[in-house]
Protein backbone atom coordinates (compact mmCIF):
# COMPACT_ATOMS: atom_id res chain seq x y z
CA UNK A 1 0.00 0.00 0.00
CA UNK A 2 2.70 2.46 1.07
CA UNK A 3 4.95 1.20 -1.69
CA UNK A 4 2.36 2.04 -4.26
CA UNK A 5 1.71 5.43 -2.71
CA UNK A 6 5.41 6.29 -2.80
CA UNK A 7 5.79 5.18 -6.39
CA UNK A 8 2.65 7.08 -7.34
CA UNK A 9 3.79 10.32 -5.71
CA UNK A 10 6.17 11.52 -8.45
CA UNK A 11 3.67 10.57 -11.14
CA UNK A 12 0.99 12.51 -9.34
CA UNK A 13 3.35 15.46 -9.11
CA UNK A 14 4.08 15.33 -12.84
CA UNK A 15 0.38 14.97 -13.60
CA UNK A 16 -0.69 17.93 -11.50
CA UNK A 17 2.17 20.32 -12.22
CA UNK A 18 3.27 19.42 -15.74
CA UNK A 19 0.67 17.51 -17.67
CA UNK A 20 -2.37 19.43 -16.46
CA UNK A 21 -0.81 22.87 -17.09
CA UNK A 22 0.34 21.70 -20.49
CA UNK A 23 -3.19 20.58 -21.31
CA UNK A 24 -4.42 24.03 -20.37
CA UNK A 25 -1.79 25.74 -22.52
CA UNK A 26 -2.62 23.43 -25.40
CA UNK A 27 -6.29 24.26 -25.01
CA UNK A 28 -5.62 28.01 -25.04
CA UNK A 29 -3.36 27.71 -28.09
CA UNK A 30 -6.29 26.29 -30.02
CA UNK A 31 -8.59 29.20 -29.22
CA UNK A 32 -9.10 32.64 -30.76
CA UNK A 33 -7.95 35.74 -28.98
CA UNK A 34 -10.79 37.90 -27.70
CA UNK A 35 -10.89 41.05 -25.63
CA UNK A 36 -12.43 39.57 -22.55
CA UNK A 37 -11.56 37.93 -19.26
CA UNK A 38 -9.96 35.37 -19.87
CA UNK A 39 -8.73 36.69 -23.22
CA UNK A 40 -9.50 33.67 -25.36
CA UNK A 41 -12.60 32.24 -26.98
CA UNK A 42 -14.23 28.98 -25.90
CA UNK A 43 -14.16 27.87 -29.55
CA UNK A 44 -11.47 25.90 -31.35
CA UNK A 45 -9.37 27.24 -34.23
CA UNK A 46 -5.92 26.44 -35.58
CA UNK A 47 -5.33 30.10 -36.51
CA UNK A 48 -2.51 30.71 -34.05
CA UNK A 49 -0.53 27.77 -35.37
CA UNK A 50 -1.07 28.63 -39.01
CA UNK A 51 0.00 32.19 -38.26
CA UNK A 52 3.12 30.98 -36.46
CA UNK A 53 4.07 28.59 -39.19
CA UNK A 54 3.52 31.04 -42.04
CA UNK A 55 5.16 34.12 -40.50
CA UNK A 56 8.86 33.90 -41.25
CA UNK A 57 9.78 36.07 -38.27
CA UNK A 58 8.78 33.34 -35.81
CA UNK A 59 10.75 30.68 -37.66
CA UNK A 60 13.80 32.93 -37.59
CA UNK A 61 13.35 33.59 -33.89
CA UNK A 62 13.06 29.89 -33.12
CA UNK A 63 16.16 29.21 -35.16
CA UNK A 64 18.08 32.01 -33.45
CA UNK A 65 17.07 30.62 -30.07
CA UNK A 66 18.22 27.14 -31.02
CA UNK A 67 21.53 28.50 -32.27
CA UNK A 68 22.08 30.65 -29.17
CA UNK A 69 21.14 27.85 -26.79
CA UNK A 70 23.26 25.33 -28.68
CA UNK A 71 26.19 27.74 -28.73
CA UNK A 72 25.89 28.36 -25.01
CA UNK A 73 25.64 24.60 -24.41
CA UNK A 74 28.79 23.99 -26.43
CA UNK A 75 30.59 26.77 -24.58
CA UNK A 76 29.51 25.24 -21.25
CA UNK A 77 30.70 21.83 -22.38
CA UNK A 78 34.09 23.16 -23.48
CA UNK A 79 34.54 25.00 -20.19
CA UNK A 80 32.82 22.48 -17.97
CA UNK A 81 34.44 19.25 -19.13
CA UNK A 82 38.01 20.13 -18.15
CA UNK A 83 36.75 21.60 -14.90
CA UNK A 84 34.69 18.52 -14.01
CA UNK A 85 37.56 16.27 -15.06
CA UNK A 86 40.00 18.23 -12.93
CA UNK A 87 37.73 18.17 -9.89
CA UNK A 88 37.10 14.43 -10.24
CA UNK A 89 40.85 13.79 -10.17
CA UNK A 90 41.48 15.79 -6.98
CA UNK A 91 41.70 14.33 -3.49
CA UNK A 92 38.28 13.95 -1.84
CA UNK A 93 38.85 16.91 0.47
CA UNK A 94 39.80 19.26 -2.37
CA UNK A 95 36.92 17.90 -4.43
CA UNK A 96 34.22 19.00 -2.00
CA UNK A 97 35.94 22.39 -1.67
CA UNK A 98 35.90 22.91 -5.43
CA UNK A 99 32.33 21.67 -5.79
CA UNK A 100 31.30 24.13 -3.12
CA UNK A 101 32.94 26.90 -5.17
CA UNK A 102 30.95 25.78 -8.21
CA UNK A 103 27.68 25.91 -6.30
CA UNK A 104 28.52 29.04 -4.31
CA UNK A 105 27.20 31.55 -6.92
CA UNK A 106 23.72 30.05 -6.46
CA UNK A 107 23.62 31.65 -3.06
CA UNK A 108 23.38 35.02 -4.74
CA UNK A 109 20.24 35.96 -6.61
CA UNK A 110 20.32 35.09 -10.27
CA UNK A 111 19.22 38.61 -11.21
CA UNK A 112 22.02 40.17 -9.22
CA UNK A 113 24.57 38.04 -11.00
CA UNK A 114 23.23 39.06 -14.41
CA UNK A 115 23.33 42.71 -13.30
CA UNK A 116 26.92 42.18 -12.24
CA UNK A 117 27.73 41.13 -15.80
CA UNK A 118 26.14 44.33 -17.03
CA UNK A 119 28.53 46.21 -14.78
CA UNK A 120 31.46 44.21 -16.09
CA UNK A 121 30.59 44.48 -19.75
CA UNK A 122 29.29 48.01 -20.27
CA UNK A 123 31.34 50.58 -22.14
CA UNK A 124 33.08 51.90 -19.04
CA UNK A 125 32.89 48.64 -17.10
CA UNK A 126 35.71 46.57 -15.68
CA UNK A 127 36.48 44.64 -18.89
CA UNK A 128 36.68 47.69 -21.14
CA UNK A 129 38.68 49.63 -18.56
CA UNK A 130 41.16 46.78 -18.30
CA UNK A 131 41.49 46.47 -22.09
CA UNK A 132 42.09 50.21 -22.43
CA UNK A 133 44.53 50.29 -19.54
CA UNK A 134 46.48 47.45 -21.13
CA UNK A 135 46.44 49.38 -24.40
CA UNK A 136 44.75 46.58 -26.31
CA UNK A 137 42.08 49.02 -27.53
CA UNK A 138 41.83 52.81 -27.36
CA UNK A 139 38.04 52.96 -27.51
CA UNK A 140 35.60 50.90 -25.47
CA UNK A 141 34.47 47.75 -27.26
CA UNK A 142 30.73 47.32 -27.54
CA UNK A 143 30.12 44.26 -25.40
CA UNK A 144 26.74 44.96 -23.88
CA UNK A 145 23.59 44.48 -25.96
CA UNK A 146 25.31 42.05 -28.34
CA UNK A 147 24.85 38.33 -28.95
CA UNK A 148 28.26 37.89 -27.37
CA UNK A 149 26.90 39.26 -24.11
CA UNK A 150 24.02 36.79 -24.26
CA UNK A 151 26.45 33.91 -24.80
CA UNK A 152 28.53 35.01 -21.84
CA UNK A 153 25.46 35.39 -19.66
CA UNK A 154 24.02 32.02 -20.64
CA UNK A 155 27.31 30.14 -20.33
CA UNK A 156 28.06 31.75 -16.97
CA UNK A 157 24.63 31.07 -15.51
CA UNK A 158 24.28 27.50 -16.69
CA UNK A 159 27.85 26.28 -16.30
CA UNK A 160 27.19 24.54 -12.94
CA UNK A 161 24.38 22.52 -14.55
CA UNK A 162 26.96 21.19 -16.98
CA UNK A 163 29.71 20.58 -14.44
CA UNK A 164 27.71 18.70 -11.84
CA UNK A 165 26.42 15.79 -13.98
CA UNK A 166 29.77 15.59 -15.76
CA UNK A 167 31.54 15.44 -12.44
CA UNK A 168 29.18 12.71 -11.24
CA UNK A 169 30.02 10.41 -14.17
CA UNK A 170 33.74 11.22 -14.29
CA UNK A 171 34.14 10.72 -10.57
CA UNK A 172 32.71 7.20 -10.80
CA UNK A 173 34.95 6.24 -13.68
CA UNK A 174 37.66 3.70 -12.93
CA UNK A 175 41.03 5.27 -13.72
CA UNK A 176 42.42 1.81 -14.44
CA UNK A 177 40.39 1.88 -17.66
CA UNK A 178 42.40 4.78 -19.03
CA UNK A 179 45.64 3.12 -18.00
CA UNK A 180 44.49 -0.15 -19.57
CA UNK A 181 43.90 1.66 -22.86
CA UNK A 182 47.36 3.20 -22.69
CA UNK A 183 48.83 -0.14 -21.78
CA UNK A 184 47.27 -1.62 -24.92
CA UNK A 185 48.85 0.97 -27.15
CA UNK A 186 46.65 4.06 -27.00
CA UNK A 187 48.32 7.44 -26.55
CA UNK A 188 46.91 9.76 -23.91
CA UNK A 189 44.60 11.54 -26.32
CA UNK A 190 43.55 8.28 -27.99
CA UNK A 191 42.74 6.80 -24.58
CA UNK A 192 40.61 9.85 -23.85
CA UNK A 193 38.50 9.44 -26.99
CA UNK A 194 38.31 5.65 -26.69
CA UNK A 195 37.52 5.39 -23.01
CA UNK A 196 36.93 8.59 -21.07
CA UNK A 197 34.66 10.28 -23.58
CA UNK A 198 32.28 7.36 -24.28
CA UNK A 199 32.02 6.61 -20.58
CA UNK A 200 31.36 10.26 -19.80
CA UNK A 201 28.64 10.42 -22.44
CA UNK A 202 25.68 9.97 -20.08
CA UNK A 203 27.02 12.94 -18.10
CA UNK A 204 27.59 14.94 -21.28
CA UNK A 205 24.05 14.26 -22.43
CA UNK A 206 22.53 15.10 -19.06
CA UNK A 207 24.61 18.27 -18.79
CA UNK A 208 23.76 19.40 -22.31
CA UNK A 209 20.04 18.88 -21.73
CA UNK A 210 20.18 20.71 -18.42
CA UNK A 211 21.82 23.68 -20.14
CA UNK A 212 20.10 23.60 -23.51
CA UNK A 213 16.50 23.34 -22.29
CA UNK A 214 16.44 26.33 -19.94
CA UNK A 215 18.70 28.30 -22.28
CA UNK A 216 16.14 27.85 -25.06
CA UNK A 217 13.42 29.52 -23.09
CA UNK A 218 15.64 31.99 -21.28
CA UNK A 219 14.05 35.39 -20.99
CA UNK A 220 15.95 37.42 -18.41
CA UNK A 221 19.48 37.12 -19.81
CA UNK A 222 18.66 38.14 -23.41
CA UNK A 223 16.42 40.86 -22.08
CA UNK A 224 19.07 42.40 -19.84
CA UNK A 225 22.28 41.68 -21.75
CA UNK A 226 21.07 41.43 -25.35
CA UNK A 227 20.14 44.24 -27.66
CA UNK A 228 16.56 45.26 -28.36
CA UNK A 229 16.74 43.68 -31.81
CA UNK A 230 18.08 40.33 -30.58
CA UNK A 231 14.76 38.53 -30.57
CA UNK A 232 14.72 35.20 -28.85
CA UNK A 233 11.75 32.96 -28.33
CA UNK A 234 11.53 33.57 -24.59
CA UNK A 235 11.21 37.27 -25.27
CA UNK A 236 8.55 36.72 -27.95
CA UNK A 237 6.61 34.51 -25.59
CA UNK A 238 6.70 37.15 -22.90
CA UNK A 239 5.69 39.92 -25.28
CA UNK A 240 2.79 37.96 -26.75
CA UNK A 241 1.45 37.23 -23.31
CA UNK A 242 1.97 40.48 -21.48
CA UNK A 243 2.31 43.15 -24.15
CA UNK A 244 -0.04 41.94 -26.88
CA UNK A 245 -2.22 39.92 -24.54
CA UNK A 246 -2.61 37.35 -27.32
CA UNK A 247 -2.84 34.29 -25.15
CA UNK A 248 -3.63 31.76 -27.90
CA UNK A 249 -0.62 32.87 -29.96
CA UNK A 250 1.65 32.89 -26.89
CA UNK A 251 0.42 29.41 -25.99
CA UNK A 252 1.07 28.20 -29.51
CA UNK A 253 4.61 29.60 -29.25
CA UNK A 254 5.04 27.66 -26.02
CA UNK A 255 3.64 24.44 -27.46
CA UNK A 256 5.98 24.56 -30.43
CA UNK A 257 8.90 25.38 -28.14
CA UNK A 258 8.03 22.33 -26.09
CA UNK A 259 7.89 20.15 -29.19
CA UNK A 260 11.27 21.47 -30.26
CA UNK A 261 12.68 20.40 -26.91
CA UNK A 262 10.88 17.09 -26.53
CA UNK A 263 11.91 15.68 -29.89
CA UNK A 264 15.70 15.75 -29.25
CA UNK A 265 15.21 14.42 -25.72
CA UNK A 266 13.22 11.44 -26.95
CA UNK A 267 15.80 10.75 -29.65
CA UNK A 268 18.62 10.92 -27.14
CA UNK A 269 16.85 8.62 -24.75
CA UNK A 270 16.18 6.08 -27.44
CA UNK A 271 19.86 6.29 -28.41
CA UNK A 272 20.96 5.78 -24.83
CA UNK A 273 18.63 2.84 -24.31
CA UNK A 274 20.02 1.18 -27.41
CA UNK A 275 23.53 1.93 -26.22
CA UNK A 276 22.88 0.06 -22.99
CA UNK A 277 21.35 -3.00 -24.58
CA UNK A 278 24.77 -4.13 -25.67
CA UNK A 279 24.19 -4.52 -29.38
CA UNK A 280 26.83 -1.99 -30.38
Amino acid sequence: MWRKAIIAAPYLWLLVFFLAPFAIVLRISLADPVIAQPPYSPTYSPDSFTFLLTDKLYAITYLRSVVMAAGATLLCLLLGFPMAYGIARCSPATRSMLLLLIILPFWISFLLRVYAWMGLMNNYGAINNLLMWLGVVDQPVQLMYTDFAIFVGLAYSYLPFMILPLYATLERMDLDLVEAAQDLGASRSRAFWDVTWPLARPGVIAGCLLVFIPAMGEYVIPYLLGGSESLLIGRVLFDEFFVNRDWPLASAVAVILLLLLVVPIVLLQRYQARDQEGTA
Binding site: D174, Q182, S187, G278
Partner: protein
Protein backbone atom coordinates in the same frame (compact mmCIF):
# COMPACT_ATOMS: atom_id res chain seq x y z
CA UNK B 1 70.65 -17.93 -19.65
CA UNK B 2 70.63 -14.22 -20.34
CA UNK B 3 68.43 -12.19 -18.05
CA UNK B 4 65.32 -11.07 -19.82
CA UNK B 5 64.28 -8.36 -17.42
CA UNK B 6 67.09 -6.48 -15.72
CA UNK B 7 66.28 -4.01 -13.00
CA UNK B 8 69.16 -2.04 -11.55
CA UNK B 9 69.12 0.35 -8.61
CA UNK B 10 65.43 1.09 -9.08
CA UNK B 11 63.87 3.55 -6.64
CA UNK B 12 60.59 5.40 -6.50
CA UNK B 13 59.84 8.21 -4.10
CA UNK B 14 56.38 9.68 -3.50
CA UNK B 15 57.11 12.91 -1.67
CA UNK B 16 59.16 11.76 1.28
CA UNK B 17 57.98 8.18 1.12
CA UNK B 18 60.37 5.73 -0.46
CA UNK B 19 58.02 3.17 -2.03
CA UNK B 20 60.71 1.20 -3.84
CA UNK B 21 64.20 1.39 -2.40
CA UNK B 22 67.18 0.73 -4.66
CA UNK B 23 66.04 -2.62 -5.99
CA UNK B 24 67.96 -5.01 -8.26
CA UNK B 25 66.16 -7.85 -9.97
CA UNK B 26 66.76 -10.27 -12.81
CA UNK B 27 63.97 -12.29 -14.35
CA UNK B 28 64.56 -14.93 -17.00
CA UNK B 29 62.64 -15.40 -20.20
CA UNK B 30 59.57 -17.56 -19.77
CA UNK B 31 59.54 -17.36 -16.00
CA UNK B 32 56.43 -17.05 -13.91
CA UNK B 33 57.83 -14.68 -11.36
CA UNK B 34 55.91 -13.46 -8.33
CA UNK B 35 56.49 -10.42 -6.20
CA UNK B 36 54.99 -11.19 -2.83
CA UNK B 37 54.43 -8.74 -0.02
CA UNK B 38 51.92 -7.09 2.26
CA UNK B 39 50.02 -3.95 1.37
CA UNK B 40 52.22 -0.89 1.02
CA UNK B 41 55.39 -2.90 0.55
CA UNK B 42 56.02 -1.33 -2.85
CA UNK B 43 55.15 -4.30 -5.02
CA UNK B 44 52.45 -2.53 -7.00
CA UNK B 45 54.67 0.51 -7.53
CA UNK B 46 57.36 -1.78 -8.89
CA UNK B 47 54.85 -3.37 -11.26
CA UNK B 48 53.59 0.03 -12.39
CA UNK B 49 57.14 1.07 -13.18
CA UNK B 50 57.52 -2.07 -15.29
CA UNK B 51 54.30 -1.16 -17.12
CA UNK B 52 55.39 2.45 -17.53
CA UNK B 53 52.67 4.11 -15.44
CA UNK B 54 55.20 5.45 -12.96
CA UNK B 55 58.58 6.86 -13.83
CA UNK B 56 61.35 5.71 -11.50
CA UNK B 57 63.07 8.31 -9.34
CA UNK B 58 66.33 6.57 -10.18
CA UNK B 59 67.54 3.32 -11.67
CA UNK B 60 66.97 1.50 -14.93
CA UNK B 61 64.69 -1.18 -16.36
CA UNK B 62 65.82 -3.26 -19.32
CA UNK B 63 63.53 -5.68 -21.11
CA UNK B 64 65.06 -8.03 -23.67
CA UNK B 65 68.15 -5.89 -23.93
CA UNK B 66 66.26 -2.62 -24.47
CA UNK B 67 66.29 0.14 -21.89
CA UNK B 68 62.61 0.96 -21.38
CA UNK B 69 63.01 3.08 -18.25
CA UNK B 70 61.55 6.22 -19.82
CA UNK B 71 59.29 4.66 -22.44
CA UNK B 72 55.59 5.49 -22.11
CA UNK B 73 53.29 2.51 -21.49
CA UNK B 74 51.94 2.46 -25.04
CA UNK B 75 55.39 1.95 -26.52
CA UNK B 76 56.44 -0.96 -24.32
CA UNK B 77 56.00 -4.56 -25.35
CA UNK B 78 54.56 -5.14 -21.95
CA UNK B 79 50.91 -5.62 -21.11
CA UNK B 80 49.16 -5.62 -17.82
CA UNK B 81 46.19 -7.34 -16.29
CA UNK B 82 44.75 -4.97 -13.73
CA UNK B 83 43.53 -5.98 -10.33
CA UNK B 84 40.15 -4.47 -11.16
CA UNK B 85 40.48 -6.14 -14.59
CA UNK B 86 39.65 -2.73 -16.13
CA UNK B 87 37.54 -4.34 -18.82
CA UNK B 88 36.04 -1.55 -20.94
CA UNK B 89 32.38 -1.48 -19.91
CA UNK B 90 31.20 0.07 -23.17
CA UNK B 91 32.72 -2.58 -25.42
CA UNK B 92 31.72 -6.18 -26.06
CA UNK B 93 33.99 -9.06 -25.11
CA UNK B 94 35.25 -9.21 -28.69
CA UNK B 95 35.88 -5.49 -28.92
CA UNK B 96 37.70 -5.54 -25.59
CA UNK B 97 40.01 -8.33 -26.65
CA UNK B 98 40.72 -6.79 -30.04
CA UNK B 99 41.37 -3.31 -28.67
CA UNK B 100 45.15 -3.58 -28.53
CA UNK B 101 45.38 -4.82 -32.11
CA UNK B 102 43.09 -2.06 -33.38
CA UNK B 103 45.52 0.44 -31.86
CA UNK B 104 48.27 -1.22 -33.85
CA UNK B 105 46.18 -0.65 -37.00
CA UNK B 106 46.31 -4.31 -37.83
CA UNK B 107 44.09 -5.29 -40.80
CA UNK B 108 40.59 -6.29 -39.75
CA UNK B 109 40.61 -9.92 -40.94
CA UNK B 110 43.85 -10.50 -39.06
CA UNK B 111 42.35 -8.96 -35.89
CA UNK B 112 39.27 -11.17 -36.22
CA UNK B 113 41.45 -14.24 -36.54
CA UNK B 114 43.56 -13.39 -33.51
CA UNK B 115 40.48 -12.52 -31.45
CA UNK B 116 39.01 -15.92 -32.31
CA UNK B 117 42.21 -17.61 -31.15
CA UNK B 118 42.15 -15.70 -27.90
CA UNK B 119 38.47 -16.42 -27.32
CA UNK B 120 39.26 -20.08 -27.71
CA UNK B 121 42.25 -19.88 -25.39
CA UNK B 122 40.16 -18.43 -22.58
CA UNK B 123 37.02 -20.34 -23.58
CA UNK B 124 34.75 -17.39 -24.08
CA UNK B 125 33.58 -18.14 -27.64
CA UNK B 126 29.90 -18.17 -26.70
CA UNK B 127 30.09 -14.89 -24.84
CA UNK B 128 31.87 -12.91 -27.56
CA UNK B 129 29.14 -10.33 -28.08
CA UNK B 130 28.29 -9.85 -24.41
CA UNK B 131 29.04 -6.65 -22.56
CA UNK B 132 31.15 -6.84 -19.38
CA UNK B 133 28.20 -6.20 -17.05
CA UNK B 134 26.66 -9.44 -18.34
CA UNK B 135 29.71 -11.45 -17.28
CA UNK B 136 30.72 -13.07 -14.00
CA UNK B 137 33.90 -12.07 -12.19
CA UNK B 138 35.76 -15.09 -13.50
CA UNK B 139 34.68 -14.37 -17.07
CA UNK B 140 35.75 -10.74 -16.80
CA UNK B 141 39.11 -11.92 -15.53
CA UNK B 142 39.51 -14.04 -18.63
CA UNK B 143 38.55 -11.16 -20.90
CA UNK B 144 41.22 -9.06 -19.23
CA UNK B 145 43.75 -11.85 -19.64
CA UNK B 146 42.94 -12.38 -23.32
CA UNK B 147 43.01 -8.65 -23.97
CA UNK B 148 46.47 -8.38 -22.44
CA UNK B 149 47.80 -11.49 -24.20
CA UNK B 150 46.57 -10.75 -27.71
CA UNK B 151 49.42 -8.35 -28.42
CA UNK B 152 51.85 -11.16 -27.64
CA UNK B 153 53.76 -9.03 -25.17
CA UNK B 154 57.27 -9.84 -24.09
CA UNK B 155 56.13 -9.57 -20.51
CA UNK B 156 52.68 -9.91 -19.01
CA UNK B 157 52.20 -8.11 -15.71
CA UNK B 158 49.45 -9.38 -13.44
CA UNK B 159 48.34 -7.28 -10.50
CA UNK B 160 46.68 -9.52 -7.91
CA UNK B 161 45.21 -11.63 -10.72
CA UNK B 162 43.01 -13.80 -8.55
CA UNK B 163 42.20 -11.59 -5.58
CA UNK B 164 38.69 -10.79 -6.81
CA UNK B 165 37.66 -14.42 -7.31
CA UNK B 166 36.14 -16.77 -4.74
CA UNK B 167 38.24 -19.60 -3.34
CA UNK B 168 37.14 -22.48 -5.56
CA UNK B 169 37.37 -20.45 -8.74
CA UNK B 170 40.73 -19.07 -7.62
CA UNK B 171 42.23 -22.52 -7.37
CA UNK B 172 40.98 -23.52 -10.81
CA UNK B 173 42.11 -20.26 -12.36
CA UNK B 174 45.59 -20.63 -10.87
CA UNK B 175 46.13 -23.76 -12.88
CA UNK B 176 44.58 -22.22 -15.98
CA UNK B 177 46.99 -19.33 -15.72
CA UNK B 178 49.91 -21.69 -15.37
CA UNK B 179 48.80 -23.70 -18.39
CA UNK B 180 48.37 -20.60 -20.52
CA UNK B 181 51.76 -19.31 -19.46
CA UNK B 182 53.29 -22.66 -20.29
CA UNK B 183 51.58 -22.77 -23.67
CA UNK B 184 52.54 -19.27 -24.76
CA UNK B 185 55.93 -19.07 -23.10
CA UNK B 186 55.40 -15.41 -22.22
CA UNK B 187 57.22 -14.12 -19.15
CA UNK B 188 54.69 -13.46 -16.39
CA UNK B 189 55.34 -11.12 -13.50
CA UNK B 190 52.67 -11.49 -10.84
CA UNK B 191 52.16 -9.18 -7.89
CA UNK B 192 50.30 -10.72 -5.00
CA UNK B 193 49.80 -10.55 -1.27
CA UNK B 194 48.57 -14.13 -1.20
CA UNK B 195 51.42 -16.47 -0.33
CA UNK B 196 49.55 -19.59 -1.36
CA UNK B 197 48.91 -18.10 -4.77
CA UNK B 198 52.56 -17.16 -5.14
CA UNK B 199 53.72 -20.60 -4.02
CA UNK B 200 51.45 -22.46 -6.43
CA UNK B 201 51.98 -20.27 -9.46
CA UNK B 202 55.55 -19.20 -9.48
CA UNK B 203 58.84 -20.52 -10.70
CA UNK B 204 60.45 -17.94 -8.42
CA UNK B 205 59.25 -15.54 -5.78
CA UNK B 206 60.64 -12.27 -4.50
CA UNK B 207 59.46 -11.43 -1.01
CA UNK B 208 59.18 -7.70 -0.62
CA UNK B 209 59.01 -5.53 2.48
CA UNK B 210 59.26 -1.76 2.85
CA UNK B 211 60.44 -1.25 -0.69
CA UNK B 212 63.14 -3.91 -0.67
CA UNK B 213 63.46 -7.58 -1.49
CA UNK B 214 64.04 -9.71 1.57
CA UNK B 215 64.61 -12.92 -0.34
CA UNK B 216 64.41 -14.11 -3.92
CA UNK B 217 64.16 -17.81 -4.69
CA UNK B 218 62.02 -20.75 -5.74
CA UNK B 219 58.92 -21.40 -3.65
CA UNK B 220 60.74 -24.30 -2.00
CA UNK B 221 63.76 -22.21 -1.11
CA UNK B 222 61.62 -19.44 0.28
CA UNK B 223 59.57 -21.84 2.38
CA UNK B 224 62.17 -24.32 3.49
CA UNK B 225 65.19 -22.06 3.70
CA UNK B 226 63.99 -18.61 4.63
CA UNK B 227 67.01 -16.38 4.94
CA UNK B 228 65.59 -14.10 7.59
CA UNK B 229 62.90 -13.77 10.15
CA UNK B 230 60.63 -11.61 8.01
CA UNK B 231 60.45 -14.17 5.23
CA UNK B 232 60.10 -17.08 7.64
CA UNK B 233 57.14 -15.45 9.35
CA UNK B 234 55.55 -13.98 6.23
CA UNK B 235 55.35 -17.32 4.44
CA UNK B 236 53.28 -19.83 6.35
CA UNK B 237 53.57 -20.31 10.08
CA UNK B 238 56.80 -20.96 11.90
CA UNK B 239 57.92 -21.54 15.48
CA UNK B 240 61.02 -19.73 16.61
CA UNK B 241 63.26 -20.31 19.61
CA UNK B 242 65.61 -17.56 20.65
CA UNK B 243 68.94 -18.62 22.09
CA UNK B 244 72.73 -18.30 22.22
CA UNK B 245 75.18 -20.41 20.27
CA UNK B 246 76.73 -22.69 22.92
CA UNK B 247 79.03 -24.71 20.74
CA UNK B 248 80.01 -25.07 17.08
CA UNK B 249 80.75 -28.48 15.66
CA UNK B 250 81.71 -29.53 12.18
CA UNK B 251 78.39 -29.01 10.51
CA UNK B 252 76.04 -28.39 13.37
CA UNK B 253 75.59 -25.95 16.20
CA UNK B 254 74.21 -26.26 19.71
CA UNK B 255 71.98 -23.50 20.90
CA UNK B 256 71.01 -22.83 24.49
CA UNK B 257 67.46 -21.66 24.52
CA UNK B 258 65.56 -20.88 27.67
CA UNK B 259 62.38 -20.82 25.62
CA UNK B 260 62.90 -24.43 24.63
CA UNK B 261 64.26 -25.43 28.02
CA UNK B 262 66.95 -27.62 26.44
CA UNK B 263 69.93 -27.35 24.18
CA UNK B 264 68.84 -27.43 20.57
CA UNK B 265 70.95 -28.82 17.76
CA UNK B 266 70.67 -27.46 14.28
CA UNK B 267 72.59 -27.89 11.09
CA UNK B 268 74.50 -24.66 10.79
CA UNK B 269 76.17 -23.82 7.55
CA UNK B 270 75.66 -20.20 8.46
CA UNK B 271 78.46 -18.12 9.80
CA UNK B 272 77.70 -17.88 13.47
CA UNK B 273 79.93 -16.99 16.38
CA UNK B 274 79.87 -18.72 19.71
CA UNK B 275 77.69 -16.78 22.10
CA UNK B 276 75.86 -15.03 19.28
CA UNK B 277 72.14 -14.61 19.75
CA UNK B 278 70.21 -16.39 16.99
CA UNK B 279 66.87 -18.04 16.41
CA UNK B 280 66.08 -21.61 15.54
CA UNK B 281 62.95 -21.82 13.42
CA UNK B 282 60.86 -24.89 12.69
CA UNK B 283 57.69 -25.26 10.61
CA UNK B 284 54.62 -26.79 12.34
CA UNK B 285 54.43 -29.72 9.91
CA UNK B 286 58.07 -30.65 10.54
CA UNK B 287 57.30 -31.41 14.17
CA UNK B 288 56.16 -34.86 15.29
CA UNK B 289 53.90 -35.31 18.22
CA UNK B 290 53.76 -38.40 20.40
CA UNK B 291 52.61 -39.53 23.82
CA UNK B 292 55.87 -41.22 24.70
CA UNK B 293 59.33 -39.82 24.34
CA UNK B 294 60.49 -40.82 20.87
CA UNK B 295 63.39 -43.22 20.74
CA UNK B 296 65.63 -41.23 18.45
CA UNK B 297 69.00 -40.04 19.61
CA UNK B 298 69.39 -37.34 16.96
CA UNK B 299 65.98 -35.79 17.28
CA UNK B 300 65.29 -32.72 19.34
CA UNK B 301 62.67 -33.72 21.91
CA UNK B 302 60.68 -31.39 24.12
CA UNK B 303 57.95 -32.25 26.63
CA UNK B 304 54.76 -30.22 26.72
CA UNK B 305 51.02 -30.10 27.31
CA UNK B 306 48.24 -29.82 24.73
CA UNK B 307 47.01 -26.27 25.16
CA UNK B 308 44.58 -26.22 22.28
CA UNK B 309 43.70 -28.32 19.30
CA UNK B 310 41.80 -27.81 16.09
CA UNK B 311 40.45 -30.26 13.58
CA UNK B 312 40.85 -29.18 9.94
CA UNK B 313 39.73 -32.30 8.13
CA UNK B 314 42.91 -33.23 6.33
CA UNK B 315 45.07 -32.27 9.27
CA UNK B 316 44.93 -31.29 12.90
CA UNK B 317 46.52 -28.27 14.45
CA UNK B 318 47.89 -28.39 17.97
CA UNK B 319 49.17 -25.71 20.25
CA UNK B 320 51.62 -27.26 22.68
CA UNK B 321 52.68 -25.39 25.82
CA UNK B 322 56.26 -26.09 26.84
CA UNK B 323 57.49 -25.95 30.42
CA UNK B 324 58.89 -22.49 29.76
CA UNK B 325 55.36 -21.36 28.84
CA UNK B 326 56.30 -21.04 25.18
CA UNK B 327 53.53 -22.14 22.78
CA UNK B 328 54.61 -24.32 19.84
CA UNK B 329 52.35 -24.90 16.85
CA UNK B 330 52.27 -28.38 15.43
CA UNK B 331 50.39 -29.56 12.37
CA UNK B 332 49.89 -33.22 11.69
CA UNK B 333 48.27 -35.10 8.84
CA UNK B 334 45.17 -37.08 9.69
CA UNK B 335 46.24 -40.22 7.89
CA UNK B 336 43.90 -42.61 9.65
CA UNK B 337 40.17 -42.34 9.62
CA UNK B 338 38.91 -42.19 13.15
CA UNK B 339 36.11 -40.66 15.17
CA UNK B 340 37.96 -40.51 18.43
CA UNK B 341 40.70 -38.02 19.00
CA UNK B 342 44.29 -39.05 19.25
CA UNK B 343 44.96 -36.31 21.78
CA UNK B 344 42.81 -34.35 24.19
CA UNK B 345 43.24 -31.04 25.95
CA UNK B 346 45.86 -31.09 28.72
CA UNK B 347 47.39 -34.38 27.57
CA UNK B 348 51.09 -34.60 28.30
CA UNK B 349 52.97 -35.08 25.03
CA UNK B 350 56.40 -35.00 23.45
CA UNK B 351 57.21 -32.97 20.41
CA UNK B 352 60.24 -33.77 18.33
CA UNK B 353 61.95 -32.87 15.09
CA UNK B 354 65.06 -33.75 13.13
CA UNK B 355 67.81 -31.15 13.45
CA UNK B 356 67.99 -30.85 9.67
CA UNK B 357 64.36 -29.68 9.58
CA UNK B 358 65.15 -26.55 11.55
CA UNK B 359 66.41 -23.29 10.11
CA UNK B 360 68.90 -20.93 11.72
CA UNK B 361 67.81 -17.30 11.49
CA UNK B 362 70.33 -14.56 12.10
CA UNK B 363 68.07 -11.51 12.11
Amino acid sequence: MKDFIRIRGLSKKFGNFLAVDNVDLDIERGELFSILGGSGCGKTTLLRMLAGFELPTSGTIEIDGVDVTNQPPYERHVNMMFQSYAVFPHMTVEKNIGYGLRKERMPRPEIAKRVDEMLELVQLQELRSRKPDQLSGGQRQRVALARALIKQPKVLLLDEPLAALDKKLRERTQFELMNIQDELGITFVVVTHDQEEAMTLSSRIAVMDRGQFRQIGTPKEIYEFPSNRFVAEFIGTINTFRGHVAAKEEDSISVDSSEAGVTLTALGKQLVEEGQEIEIAIRPEKIFISKEKPDDGDAVCLPGVVDDLGYRGNRSLYRIRLESGKIVQVSSQNRRRSVTRFLEWDDRVWISWRPRSAVVLLD
